[in-house]
């Protein structure tokens, strides 16, 4: 009897196509097609290469962009000269990247280039990220790139050095997880809410050991930018990578991007990309389903990204938790967040607004926020409302559409691209005890600055919070 090949998932197909050598202990040496490098996790890797007299194996498959440390205020004076970065350690990391990239033959999109931005925004936008490729970066949100059907995952500094030197990585196969969301999303429910609903359903550790694939009508209908938001937060559910099968939307998004294939290469690539989707009878190790109709506009209340509640809901009561460890954790969270059980989420007032980060800083995110901000004004109690485009190209596009005027007229600040207030490594920080409505992806203790309090939500909800000065159901603005 002729044996037919076993049906495979998208993840298995990409993994199989990149195995350089399979080892007996279950690990494989995997070829890496795309390596994004930023200033924080690369200096020691370059240092290690130099010390060992090693070169970068494939500088042509490597792209460097500064994003984490870079200030989001003006970067050049009127004559176009670069302004100094005040924090000496940030400046040293940025200088190191500026020195190392040319030294090792790597292309650098530096601070003053129009294409500069957050690595995970730049990769897709440049067509550097392609379906069926393996993409790594010394940053855990590399999962974002799965939105284009690429296997993207974060790596540590030693692994950055390993990829630079060998263009490969030693890896164990992950288990496969299908996250299926079918049905119609309700009014005011955005990809960010879908992402938060998934993290809540899986819990922050539920995806550990898995690579997630997002399936179902909601993702089929979702834009590439929306898929980027969902895949971005795979790591918040513990999954190292998240994928959406490439389809006509993916190809339309990529066609004509600066680095996407051209001419005959393009046709050949698309034909190959069409073979990547999971086979109909492929078996996942775990399946989770969510009914789209059950997802409300969401917001986090605690210090873990799975501490999620509907905006119309209340702060949960730790006493209701049976597990003493979880109860203690919830109590600690509430104390840190300055919230009391039973309090209505919509009564929570905010000090700062952050619209940005690799989760929600693309043009569709800015349009959604601007639609709420248009003709309104940031509330008196709000100390700062930041809008930080994910890249210079997003910024330029937004300005062409007049979104910057809408934000500025409404009292928001309009900044240069970068990670900004997502992580307190640059001057944009939330002071201790202050509360921020943020479109980023992590609400950990101290994430936006020591003592900062973070509520994760969608761009539209962040804009609504800016206007009212409290967490607000965006559907009131419909």
């Amino acid at each position: 009897m002729a044996s037919t090949p076993a049906p495979r998932t998208l993840y298995q197909k990409i993994f199989d196509a990149h195995v350089v050598e399979q080892r007996d202990d279950g690990t494989a040496l995997l070829y890496i097609d795309r390596h994004l490098v930023h200033e924080v996790t690369s200096p020691q890797a370059f240092d290690g290469l130099a010390a060992a007299g090693r070169k970068v194996r494939r500088p042509d498959l490597t792209l460097a962009v500064p994003d984490h440390n870079i200030p989001t205020t003006a970067r050049a004076d009127a004559q176009g000269n670069r302004l100094a970065v005040a924090d000496p350690q940030s400046a040293a990391q940025l200088d190191a990247l500026r020195r190392n990239a040319p030294l090792f033959g790597i292309e650098l999109i530096d601070d003053l280039a129009a294409e500069q931005g957050i690595v995970h925004v730049v990769g897709p936008e440049q067509g550097f990220t392609l379906p069926g490729t393996t993409v790594v970066c010394g940053d855990s949100h590399t999962a974002s790139h799965g939105a284009l059907g690429a296997l993207g995952f974060g790596i540590g500094t030693s692994e950055v050095e390993h990829v630079l030197a060998t263009q490969t990585l030693l890896l164990k196969r992950s288990k496969s997880l299908e996250v299926r969301v079918d049905g119609e999303l309700g009014p005011g429910v955005t990809p960010k809410d879908v992402a938060l609903a998934i993290v809540a359903k899986l819990t922050a550790a539920g995806g550990a050991g898995y690579v997630a694939e997002y399936t179902g009508s909601v993702f089929r209908d979702m834009s590439i930018e929306g898929r980027l938001t969902v895949c971005n937060m795979s790591i918040e559910a513990g999954a190292r990578a998240g994928l959406v099968a490439p389809d006509d939307k993916t190809f339309a998004y990529l066609q004509g991007k600066p680095r996407s294939p051209k001419g005959a290469d393009w046709d050949r690539a698309v034909a190959y990309w069409r073979t990547l989707a999971s086979d109909p009878r492929a078996v996942y190790d775990k399946v989770v389903t969510i009914d789209a109709a059950t997802i409300a506009p969401l917001v986090t209340w605690g210090t873990s990204p799975d501490d999620v509640v509907a905006i119309t809901g209340i702060v949960p009561d730790p006493a209701a938790l049976d597990d003493p460890a979880r109860r203690a954790a919830a109590e600690k969270s509430l104390a840190y967040m300055g919230l009391t059980a039973g309090q209505r989420m919509q009564d929570v007032t905010v000090d700062r607004i952050f619209i940005g980060s690799c989760t929600n800083s693309r043009i569709e995110d800015l349009r959604a926020a601007a639609a709420v901000a248009r003709g309104r004004h940031v509330a008196a109690g709000v100390k700062q409302a930041l809008v930080v485009p994910g890249s210079g190209l997003v910024k330029r596009q937004a300005e062409a559409e007049g979104l910057d005027r809408i934000f500025l007229d409404a009292g928001f600040e309009w900044r240069e691209p970068g990670c900004s207030m997502c992580l307190a490594m640059n001057p944009d920080k939330v002071p201790a005890g202050e509360r921020c409505a943020s479109t980023s992806n992590r609400n950990f203790v101290g994430r936006q600055g020591p003592g900062s309090r973070t509520h994760l939500l969608s761009p539209a909800m962040a804009a609504a919070a800016a206007v009212t000065g409290r967490l607000t159901d965006v559907r009131e603005f419909a």
């Binding site: 990149h18 350089v20 050598e21 202990d25 040496l29 070829y31 097609d33 795309r34 924080v40 200096p43 020691q44 240092d47 290690g48 060992a52 090693r54 194996r57 042509d60 498959l61 792209l63 350690q89 940030s90 040293a92 990391q93 190191a96 292309e107 440049q126 067509g127 550097f128 392609l130 069926g132 490729t133 540590g156 500094t157 030693s158 050095e161 390993h162 030197a165 060998t166 263009q167 490969t168 030693l170 600066p258 680095r259 996407s260 294939p261 051209k262 290469d265 393009w266 050949r268 690539a269 190959y272 490594m425």
Partner: protein, 199 residues
């Protein structure tokens, strides 16, 4: 990387469980651009405690650390291993390690030795005034009092440490296999190379 065979000398008898990577190297030292120089900040919070083992002249320059359960838990920061290497540690003995930290330690040439709690307790007592010897080849930890504890280690890691090979060097030796994959990529999926740089 330096080859490891016998590590013999004093050992810091720390013994505490759940030493996380924040304790090994606090977050405010992470914005460095080299691996060197972090040793002076290692265990900063513990060093603030009077009578701590790290500042006790009896153990100055010890190549071994003896710790409690779950050593290296918490953040995956590799700076922890850099700081340990920079302060001169070549081995850590504990009842268990965080997986990620053990991997980081290995990548930086630090041997992690897992022994049962009772044997670790015995070593903690001995280390107060006597040296400890770790023999990687024979996978034993011995003391001047005839204690002899055998430990397990992944054969691949053992081989790398004994020969002073780092993971990158080993992968680079597989150049043929990597070049074969690249030739296949060039022939079958040429757009992967062709497209990476903007036209």
């Amino acid at each position: 990387m330096r080859a490891i065979d016998i590590i013999a000398g004093k050992a810091y008898p720390l013994g505490r469980p759940n030493i996380d990577t924040d304790v090994i190297i606090p977050a405010h030292h992470l914005k460095t651009i080299t691996r060197e120089g972090l040793g002076q900040f290692a265990f900063e919070t513990l060093r603030a405690e009077p009578g701590n083992v790290f500042d006790d002249p009896a153990y100055a320059g010890a190549p071994i650390l003896i710790a409690g359960d779950n050593y290296g838990c918490g953040s995956s920061r590799e700076h922890a291993a850099w700081a340990m290497a920079d302060m001169g540690l070549q081995a850590v003995i504990a009842p268990s390690f965080s997986d990620i930290h053990a991997g980081n330690a290995f990548k930086n040439g630090i041997l992690t030795v897992v022994l049962p709690q009772d044997q670790v307790d015995r070593l903690l007592a001995v280390a107060k005034d006597q040296p400890i010897t770790i023999d990687l080849e024979n996978q034993t930890v011995t003391t001047p009092y005839q204690d002899r504890f055998r430990f397990e280690i992944d054969p691949f890691r053992k081989d790398c440490l004994l020969r002073g090979l780092d993971e990158i060097g080993i992968t680079m030796a597989m150049d043929d296999a990597i070049a074969t994959h690249e030739a296949k990529m060039h022939a079958e999926t040429p757009w992967i190379e062709g497209a990476a740089r903007a036209a």
